[in-house]
Amino acid sequence: MSLWEYANPKKFMGWTGPILPWAFGAAGLCLVVGLFWGFFLTPDDFRQGSTVKIIYLHVPAALMAINAWMMMLVASLIWLVRRHHVSALAAKAAAPVGITMTLIALMTGAIWGQPMWGTYWAWDPRLTSFLILFLFYLGYMALWAAIDDPDTAADLTSVLCMVGSVFALLSRYAVNFWNQGLHQGASLSLDKEENVSDVFFFPLLVCIAGFVLLFFALVLLRTRTEIRARRVRALQLSEVR
């Protein structure tokens, strides 16, 4: 039995149904533990005070904003190559979740930036590339909403996702060239000596796990909704005939 059989809509509904409550439960548990640990059980930073604790929302959201786009890219490719409808619907379902994550990262960054940098917004490369990512999500969702025929919509948005990925990557390095950064560099890399202190790192890991699970659960839920909506549409069409 191949992995692709799970992409059959009926099978997909079958195996995701029982998993869904567990995924939501695990996401909720991770988020409650991670955020409580992060907010109340870690010390204040000696320079940033308690504002540092916004990283428990900011970092996982920013991580998932990029990963959601990557997931959409992979799902789009699978749709274009193997034409599994669930894949196209999963890409469609992930976009609103991804754009929300982007917005959370931008907003928490702005809230933190006001006391720390003295401004809500700076045209820093990282901030700018996130804003551009936000625009790409908007365009992608608008294209889905504008086309009536579901297969055409899936095809066109898949191509847009691929072309958009190239240009989003290009923009990311272009803005690096365009302006100097205010944002700190990477401090969670596995291959570096100097990273964020363990006291902050472990609750952050739990929060990241929580956001990954939350994204997984939300995308599953939204994909199931899309499949049901498509079934309803098919039933209505057959009734008209």
Binding site: A142, I147, T152, L156, G164, F167, A168, F177
Partner: protein, 218 residues
């Protein structure tokens, strides 16, 4: 392919083709900016190259939905698609026609309009050069966007939402090269990057354009 190019050029330059509209729009945007930011020479000459770039980008955007929409409505696009040239070449011909009717006139007009914006003397040639290098990329990306939205009624607004984010890298390098050149700095790196983006767009985007056209003509 040349016949198609000549046909598009003829259609664009004759009555109702909107050939001059892009240029007039460019002029109006450039005239409006001093009203918005104030008439001080120092400020205007500092932002002149950037304004010219943004205005050129908007003017190029204005005529995008004409690339395929009219042909799609009267059925000519289906006929062209069955012609014995590949759809990729057809997309390239369409983009070339768009560039010849908007990008090239904009490039020629930009230094003249630079006078209105107090562009420093060092900036005239570099602004024209960056536009000459960058506008083909704008036309090619725009052709892809137009092909993407050709089947959608009233897709004009959606087209700008899809295309403008794709214009960002071109704008960054083009405007950066123009700014550096105007300030008398070395502009080689952004110029090379800009040329690279244009070359990459011309090489790859015709395939994406043809792919979405095939989907839309199904």
């Amino acid at each position: 392919m040349i016949a198609l190019l000549l046909r598009d050029l003829r259609l664009a330059t004759r009555a109702g083709g909107g050939f001059g509209l892009g240029l007039v729009f460019f002029l109006i945007v450039v005239v409006l900016v001093p009203f918005g930011v104030g008439p001080e020479t120092a400020i205007l000459s500092k932002i002149a190259s950037g304004i010219l770039w943004v205005a050129a980008l908007l003017a190029a955007l204005l005529s995008l939905d004409r690339i395929f929409a009219l042909d799609f409505e009267d059925g000519a696009l289906t006929l062209i698609a069955t012609a014995p040239i590949p759809l990729e070449a057809m997309g390239l011909a369409k983009a070339t026609a768009h560039w010849l009717t908007t990008g090239l006139p904009l490039t020629i007009a930009a230094p003249i309009l630079g006078v209105l914006l107090q562009l420093p003397n060092s900036g005239y040639s570099i602004v024209a050069l960056t536009l000459l290098l960058g506008t083909p990329a704008l036309s090619m990306i725009g052709t892809f966007g137009a092909a993407l939205t050709v089947g959608i009624r009233r897709g004009g607004l959606l087209l700008s939402l899809l295309v403008l984010p794709l214009y960002i890298p071109t704008l960054i390098f083009g405007a950066e090269a123009a700014r550096r050149g105007t300030a008398g700095l070395d502009a080689t790196t952004p110029l090379l990057m800009l040329a690279g983006i244009t070359a990459g767009c011309i090489a790859l985007l015709p395939f994406a354009t043809a792919a979405v056209l095939r989907i839309n003509l199904r």
